[in-house]
Amino acid sequence: MAHSVAEPVPTIAPLSPPSPPPTDRPLHTLPAPFTTSNLQLLAQGAEALVYKTTFLTPNTPCVVKYRPPKPYRHPILDKRLTKARLLAEARVLVRAGREGVSVPRVLGADWEGGWLVLSWVGGGSVRQVLDGWAERVKRGEQKAEQALMDGEILDLMRRIGRCVGRLHDIGISHGDLTTSNIMLQSPSQESGPQPPLGGEITLIDFGLASHITPNSADEEGAVDLYVLERAFAATHPAAEPLFQEVLKAYSESWKGAKSVMKRLEDVRLRGRKRSMLG
């Protein structure tokens, strides 16, 4: 008698997600007039899909920020929230552009369709610069102190500090100020692994930005700085002194900076969220 072949272990049927509730807005399909041709997905966040394409002329590169409908929300609420958030972002960008802070320009929008077109920001992010710098320190090519002597990177930090100060001065808090959202835009070069440090500092992603009301100015400013500080700390321990330079330039950049710096101490102790709700 031959041994019978062992019975295969019964496999569990894969779980299938429940089908999304019906919505009258397109779900992960592109809103008119966009089609998949000539569109390249760059990133997906919790709220928006970001595509690269051209707009107005075939040689104007741009970013399309599309907030797809969230089927778990009531359609009316969903539309309203999407519209309010898109509008808030566009208003902040136009305002900042008017005041001379370097931000992407708004090239088009459709509040009902849920999309916003912004001009393309070339170059690279400060995150890339810091990663490259941290890598060099780690490899021991330069001692950390020596690397700091590198005047160029310190100058970059000072410029970041002044730029953030200017943004707060005109009454805007960024809401998600990380090193990835600070770009170094240079007209000459397209994105490479190491953007030149001399590029123009351009802030991007104002999806969480808001106008500061006078009585929350210190708090919102301090939270911006705190988030940025954490982003620096996450890069490399040696980046800490770099951030000190950012703070130094920030505190001299506008008249409300002193009280923001004071509030930063409190925020450091308790974290980003003030209330225990949400």
Partner: protein, 205 residues
């Protein structure tokens, strides 16, 4: 034949836009009267070229107009009037025509014709018709369309969009130059363009 440039906006390729530019126009009064009489042959957006800073804001207006047309959310009676209306920062149609539309004293003229199905509009048909009715010198429009901004009256444009003088000589301006290194010469026209486009997008919200 008048020189007509066909623009195809990315993502809106099915709706080509015919644009012609004229200088030394002498019969603006006639053209305006035809518009007022709503003569269907004169269904154009006739713009005063001194109010157009550069091609991008004009193309943005066109794209906003097409979007409004396609989603049936026009705020004026025809697509061409919508185009004139969208240029103005306020919500007053008559005012938009007075400021941006053709007036009796207009000498530099931009004529825009949208091709909206089912009516077929070709470069040739527009060119032929405009050559017959516009008394003026046709100006060719290059690839970038820079010619559209040749006669921009910057002071007038600043006034209508309520732009300040670029922060020159003010404390704000000085500080802001310091933000990005100082040596950088700011492209003033480009900044105006950005703000104007932002205002257009945010209009009516």
């Amino acid at each position: 034949m008048a020189l007509v440039r066909t623009f195809r906006l990315p993502h809106l390729e099915d709706y080509p836009v015919q644009v012609a530019l004229f200088k030394n126009v002498t019969n603006a009064t006639f053209l305006r009267s035809q518009l007022l009489a709503a003569n269907p042959d004169f269904d154009y957006a006739f713009l005063d070229a001194t109010m157009i800073l550069s091609p991008l804001p004009l193309l943005l207006t066109t794209s906003l107009t097409l979007q409004a047309y396609l989603s049936s959310t026009l705020r004026t009676r025809t697509p061409h009037s919508e185009l004139v209306f969208r240029l103005h920062p306020n919500n007053n149609i008559g005012e938009s025509y007075r400021k941006f539309g053709i007036s009796d004293t207009t000498t530099h003229l931009i004529a825009i014709k949208l091709s909206l199905p089912p009516t077929e509009v070709t470069n040739e048909s527009v060119s032929k018709h405009l050559a017959e009715v516009v008394e003026g010198e046709s100006v060719p429009i290059g690839d970038e369309g820079e010619e559209l901004g040749l006669w921009a009256d910057v002071a007038k444009i600043r006034k209508i969009y309520k732009l300040n003088d670029g922060g020159k000589g003010r404390a704000k301006g000085k500080r802001e130059v310091a933000v990005n290194g100082g040596a950088r010469v700011r492209d003033e026209k480009k900044e105006m363009e950005s703000v104007i486009m932002g205002i257009m997008v945010l209009k009516g919200t």
